[in-house]
């Protein structure tokens, strides 16, 4: 084999999590970071609002409060040891980013500026607390750029535009990955002692989504096919405010700055659903509220969207009603200038895609598929654990949106994901390097590239009876409609059947592009395969869980059922079939109780 590379640690994915892992692993181990996109194209760059840490730069805040909010936000499904670990690490993680040069916005005293975000509260008063450290509305962009830049400074080895197709395991241990170089179509084997997956989520299984085209769940799908289970796949977050039809995200920061949601009657409806924090309730709550309004006929013109209003006069009116104040106690008011300064990118999106100017007009919004809570199960050090007893798979790590630690449980709080990627990315990198120090290379068996090659061959030689573009649209539609914000037995069962039917039809997809160089058609078709596999796990896990919790809300089981369902779902492929098992939730400090905002 011509293209074999050897590294101690190989990191798959160059978003926030992958870069953090690469940066830390490369300090002590020979490390490669492989990414199917140029690193700066990763979806971390799309994150807008902020990264949470109890810095307390404006007002009192504590990691314990952050922990409680996260546990509550997760609808008590998050593992509390991991959550506590993350919230304690948060302050140092954010300060470290600052030390790497990240240009956070500043307070008048020159400290990192923070803004309120859904679900983050002062535990004593129950009022929103400013916890999200931010760089305008492009915090993720700045994290991605800063980490990439630091990787360049530290001479991390990058394999840009190499798409990983397969995971190599030998003797029950990680041994590397197989990747295709997009520019040449050549397969490469990257032989490694430790492998870190940081490939991001799979929001592209849904029709209306804030997620990138690249969010096809490659990492999770690859490992699923290799027998690694996936955890909590039924939990997917629908962000309340996506641009109508397009799904492009309007950050919660807009509501953090005082924006309110209005229904078709021009009423602000959130106080009905969350009397204390109102528009800043956690995402699942707001998304459901919007859907309820729409279902009850109070969408705009009876249609399936509502308005988000950040016009200064509305904000000032409702801020006065809420009695919201500035840190110095004066009443909270904003001007057109505040809007332009604090959320410039959102203003830009609205102008470009909607022809709407948020300073003078309301924005039509609808919930949009946003974040993958489930994924590759890991412990708090990023080590992949493959069963209910948390048995570690040697040499395999995962971090970021593709992983399920689980700190987000059934519903992620805004800004906790950027925190997740830096904290767990770092620890996964450290652990991987540590493991590589002590482990030896496994000898590679003969034909490690065979499976990847035959997957490609199958797509090239398919009968072409089916068109990948159509299949993918059918998949997205059925998943959004039936395994979306509100779910029911009947809908999900039909969706599952449909996904299985699509999987069958997928065998008849054939790629027309016979070339090797940048064969994007082939790669897109391969990604569709991943989407189908992932969608099946999502639909099946969701159908199986007979309760409502966080992002998983069922019309037929509207209540949370801690008695039977306070447990994680594990779904794994055995003999070509999916099987479900369970894993207990780690509860340390906070016993489950009803969740009101």
């Amino acid at each position: 084999m011509a293209n074999v590379h050897q590294f101690d640690v190989v990191v798959v994915g160059a978003g926030g999590a992958g870069l953090m892992a690469g940066l830390y692993a490369s300090r002590t181990a020979k490390t490669a970071v492989i990414s199917k996109l140029y690193p700066t194209r990763s979806h971390t760059g799309a994150a807008q609002g902020g990264i949470s840490a109890a810095l307390g730069n404006y007002e009192e805040d504590k990691p314990e409060w952050h922990m409680y909010d996260t546990v509550k936000g997760s609808d008590y499904l998050g593992d509390q040891d991991a959550i506590e670990f993350m919230c304690n690490e948060a302050i140092d993680a954010v300060l470290e980013l600052e030390h790497m040069g990240l240009p956070f916005d500043r307070t008048p005293e020159g400290k990192i500026s923070q803004r309120p975000f859904g679900g983050h509260t002062n535990n004593e008063t129950g009022k929103p607390v400013r916890r999200a450290a931010h760089a305008a509305d492009r915090t993720g962009h700045m994290i991605l750029q800063t980490l990439y830049q630091q990787c360049l400074k530290n001479k991390v080895n990058f394999f840009d535009e190499y798409q990983v197709l397969d995971f190599i395991m030998v003797n029950g241990r990680a041994a590397g990955v197989v990747a295709v170089e997009l520019a040449t179509g050549e397969l490469h084997t990257i032989h490694a002692k430790a492998v870190v997956f940081a490939t991001g989520g799979h929001g592209r299984i849904f029709e209306v989504t804030s997620n990138a085209y690249a969010y096809t769940g490659d990492g999770a799908a690859i490992l699923l096919r290799r027998g690694i289970p996936l955890e909590d796949m039924e939990f997917f977050q629908f962000h309340p405010t996506g641009i109508y039809k397009l799904g492009i995200l309007i950050t919660e920061g807009v509501r953090g700055e005082g924006g309110v949601l209005l229904n078709g009657n021009g009423e602000r409806f959130m106080p009905k659903y969350a009397p204390t924090v109102k528009d800043l309730a956690s995402r699942d709550v707001v998304s459901r509220a919007i859907y309820t309004e729409i279902k009850e006929g109070r969408g705009i013109n009876g249609s399936n969207y509502v308005y988000l209003d950040i016009r200064p006069e509305s904000v000032n009116k409702y801020a006065a009603v809420d009695g919201r104040t500035n840190p110095d106690g004066s009443p909270y008011t904003i001007t057109a200038d505040t809007v332009l300064k604090k959320i410039p990118d959102i203003v830009d999106f609205c102008r470009v895609y909607l022809g709407v100017d948020p300073v003078t007009q309301v924005m039509p919004i609808q919930p949009t598929a946003h974040y993958t809570m489930g994924g590759i199960p890991t412990n708090k050090y990023g080590e992949v654990v493959i069963d209910d007893r948390n048995t570690i798979f040697p040499g395999l790590y995962a971090a970021g949106e593709c992983a399920c630690v689980s700190v987000h449980g059934a519903n992620r709080l805004g800004t906790n994901s950027l925190l997740d990627i830096v904290v767990f990315g770092k620890h996964a990198g450290l652990k991987a390097a540590e493991y590589a120090q002590s482990a030896d290379f496994e000898t590679l068996p003969g034909e490690v590239e065979a499976d990847a090659r035959s997957a490609f061959e199958a797509l090239r030689n398919g009968s072409k009876k089916e068109n990948a573009f159509d299949l993918s649209n059918e998949l997205k539609k059925v998943m959004f409609d039936d395994v979306g914000i509100y779910r029911s037995e009947k809908g999900m069962a039909e969706a599952l059947d449909k996904v299985r039917e699509l999987k069958e039809r997928f065998k008849d997809v054939g790629v027309t592009d016979t070339g090797k160089i940048f064969n994007t058609e082939l790669l897109n078709a391969w990604e569709l395969g991943n989407l189908l596999d992932i969608a099946e796990t999502v639909a099946m896990s969701a159908l199986n869980r007979k309760e409502s919790r966080g992002g998983h809300s069922r019309e037929d089981y509207p209540e949370r059922d801690d008695g039977s369902w306070l447990k994680h779902t594990l779904i794994a492929q055995k003999d070509g079939k999916l099987e479900i098992s369970y894993k207990p939730v780690v509860i340390t400090k906070h016993q489950p109780k009803a969740r009101v905002y």
Binding site: L37, Y38, T40, R41, S42, H43, G45, A46, D92, L95, E98, H99, M100, G101, P103, F104, D105, R106, T107, P108, E109, G110, K111, I112, A135, A136, R138, H141, M142, Q145, T146, Q149, Q150, L152, K153, A183, A212, Y213, A214, L246, I248, D345, D348, F349, V352, Y353, N467, A468, F469, D470, V511, T512, D513, G515, K516, I517, F518, N519, T520, E521
Partner: protein, 235 residues
């Protein structure tokens, strides 16, 4: 409505040179040009190749020449460009296939300007953040927005003439650090940019500023770098 899209096609495994192929497809005026390309790829000709990821102007994958001007295909709607659309790859970089160009030289230039934060002084004793006033932070806000899409560099006549020119994108990145009050390597960056292939190659043609999808005032940023070089003032 029906739109006519003329696309530059080049298959490196078959063609000696590129050619244009015209497609007629149905589209809505609020569709992005990217949606139209996706549709053509999905339904008309799967071999059409281009890069894309985020689909909302934030990842910088899909910069290309649309009706003779560099833009992001995902950030321009049919209603902005009309129903006769010509789509071509960026100028000044090797064309790998169809609309995909070789980005390596672009990133190589980026890497030349020390595109990372440098401050070797000790951290504040309490381990907290380095302080920076809101005004100091605002000084370089504009240039932090860059998504490295290359629309600017590949619209610059100087860069067309000579790929050794670092190009506006690299200078934008340098600007982001030069004017960051916390950074300590402004001098080194200015020395690099003072070389023949640095800012001297910019003749204020403004194509870059006009092409930037992030609306960065690039020519102004380059001008500020030139003046920092002239006067030594970094405030």
């Amino acid at each position: 409505m029906e739109v006519t899209v003329k696309i530059f096609r080049y298959n490196p495994e078959k063609d000696q040179r590129g050619n244009y192929v015209t497609y007629k497809v149905e589209a809505h005026e609020n569709d992005r040009v990217l949606d139209v390309l996706e549709y053509i790829k999905g339904k008309e000709d799967g071999t059409l190749s281009f890069r894309r990821s985020c689909a909302h102007g934030i990842c910088g994958s899909d910069a290309m020449r649309i009706n003779g001007r560099n833009m992001l295909a995902c950030k321009v709607l049919i209603r902005d460009v009309g129903t006769n659309i010509t789509v071509e790859p960026l100028l000044g970089l090797k064309i790998s296939k169809d609309l995909i160009v070789d980005m390596e030289p672009f990133f190589d230039n980026y890497k030349k300007v020390l595109p990372y934060f440098i401050n070797d002084s000790p951290l504040p004793e309490d381990g907290r953040e380095r302080l920076q006033s809101p005004e100091e932070r605002a000084r370089f806000d504009e240039t932090t927005k860059c998504i490295l899409c290359a629309a600017c560099t590949t619209s610059c006549p100087s860069y067309w003439a000579n790929g050794e020119y670092y190009g506006p994108a690299a200078i934008v990145t340098a600007h982001r650090f030069i004017f960051d009050s916390r950074d300590e390597a402004a001098g080194e960056r200015l020395q690099i940019l003072a070389e023949t292939d640095g800012v001297a190659r910019c003749h204020t043609a403004y194509n870059c500023t006009e092409a930037c999808p992030r609306e960065i005032k690039i020519t102004r940023a380059i001008g500020e770098v030139k003046m920092a070089m002239t006067t030594g003032k970094l405030d």
